[in-house]
Subunit: 204 residues, 2 copies
Amino acid sequence: MSSTEFTKRLLTYRLSLLHLQEIGLNDVYSHLIAGETGFSAALIRKDFSRINVKGKRRGGYEIDVILQAINNYFGDDKVSKVILVGMGNIGSAIARYKDFQNQKLRIVAAFDIDPAKQRKKFSIPVYSMGKCQEIIYCYEIEAGIIAVPAFSAQTVCDRLVYCGIKGILNFAPVNLKVPEEVYVSNVSLSNELRHVIYHAKQNK
Amino acid sequence: MSSTEFTKRLLTYRLSLLHLQEIGLNDVYSHLIAGETGFSAALIRKDFSRINVKGKRRGGYEIDVILQAINNYFGDDKVSKVILVGMGNIGSAIARYKDFQNQKLRIVAAFDIDPAKQRKKFSIPVYSMGKCQEIIYCYEIEAGIIAVPAFSAQTVCDRLVYCGIKGILNFAPVNLKVPEEVYVSNVSLSNELRHVIYHAKQNK
DNA sequence: TTTATATTGTGAATATTGTCACAATAAATT
DNA sequence: AATTTATTGTGACAATATTCACAATATAAA
Ligand SMILES: NC(=O)c1ccc[n+]([C@@H]2O[C@H](COP(=O)([O-])OP(=O)(O)OC[C@H]3O[C@@H](n4cnc5c(N)ncnc54)[C@H](O)[C@@H]3O)[C@@H](O)[C@H]2O)c1
Ligand SMILES: NC(=O)c1ccc[n+]([C@@H]2O[C@H](COP(=O)([O-])OP(=O)(O)OC[C@H]3O[C@@H](n4cnc5c(N)ncnc54)[C@H](O)[C@@H]3O)[C@@H](O)[C@H]2O)c1
């Protein structure tokens, strides 16, 4: 299995490359990307070699070619469909997030137990949990975002897993228990902040 | 410098330990935490040893002792103060987030260029960027959260760095450029989702 | 008390990840 | 055309992280 550091780097490269492309560049040298991203030039070349990106000796790499290879690696030439559970503070903010469209990510539907929230919002329909299974099957949903309070996160998670979801992005401050074949990524703002503060202190 | 994987694991342990404590446990074995978090028992023991947590042979570890050591590692016995720039969708959601209080994290002030947003919101005062330097100094702010659109993220970042901020939690989809002594952690929902979808596909 | 059992703590072995150094090579310059 | 220069691509090496294996040891059971 490929390391998560490697896949994260690819996504970091993509961000920088899109930026460089926007300001008019067509080609890049590994050292330039190193300057942009903070990774070493040698590591970047190794990574590119791993996804079969060839440069021209002394000529650098074509941005288009790299971006294509990264997209290909993630298999995101077609739109990936996801659902969102919990339309509270953070759920609504995510539902309103426009960048997903550029990224070929689409939130097809949202769910909430609160009937007051069960109506279309920001162009995304909000259903009761009852509709969950049907929608996951019909739309071939690839992942679920959990944005419910901590105490109901595991229940929601079990439900999604039961409906066949294999990837979960979890905002609740809980270590979810899932079968081996399900991948969970936790986004914990508190932990991230702690982490930042810890490093900031080192650098004082 | 300690690896970021190590510090992340500590925060993961904490989450599980708090949960186990809540359901009534006082002691844990490394294997139990392994089951909760997915890390191997040996690794957990090594990590504990690294932060000077001693268990009792055959008796396991005391949850209190571990939690104390983790808190101590992060130096969060006192409240850490942070600021938030950008009170749009995501910024407001963060400002409303109550969990920070339990975690001894406090958002002391927020900033926004939009005058309409410059009033107290959810008990956090919202200022114009002009007040930024003063507040960072007066309150001894330890980190900044950036939640502004991508095109102004670097500008805001430069400003914070100029005011002495050494740690940044960045939500904008941009690889920020900072001096070496500043630590940046990027939270990219699109990237996280991509990552989840990638792994989900592997497990189909 | 003796024996069996379960768990920690850690050195050694292994695996993984990243860096270094440089040959290969294409482009630019003279 | 010959020479210089800059960059890729990669094998060898170094560093780091993780697992393995088991001695040390405390508790429980007989
Ligand atoms: N607000 C933030 O900035 C923030 C940041 C990080 C993490 N989080 C975490 O994200 C989660 C949501 O936070 P929030 O501030 O949006 O909370 P919130 O209370 O505003 O929203 C939670 C939503 O989930 C719904 N819900 C509750 N139980 C449900 C269930 N069983 N099935 C479906 N829907 C259910 C509620 O009706 C509500 O709309 C929490 O776990 C929180 O800790 C929030
Ligand atoms: N909404 C999401 O779920 C989400 C998720 C991930 C990342 N993001 C990123 O977070 C950032 C904010 O997203 P959002 O949806 O909250 O956007 P938004 O447009 O709702 O909010 C941005 C806020 O920043 C303020 N602002 C703009 N320029 C500023 C400046 N120079 N100084 C101070 N304040 C300034 C604006 O007045 C506005 O209030 C974006 O970069 C976005 O890509 C958003």
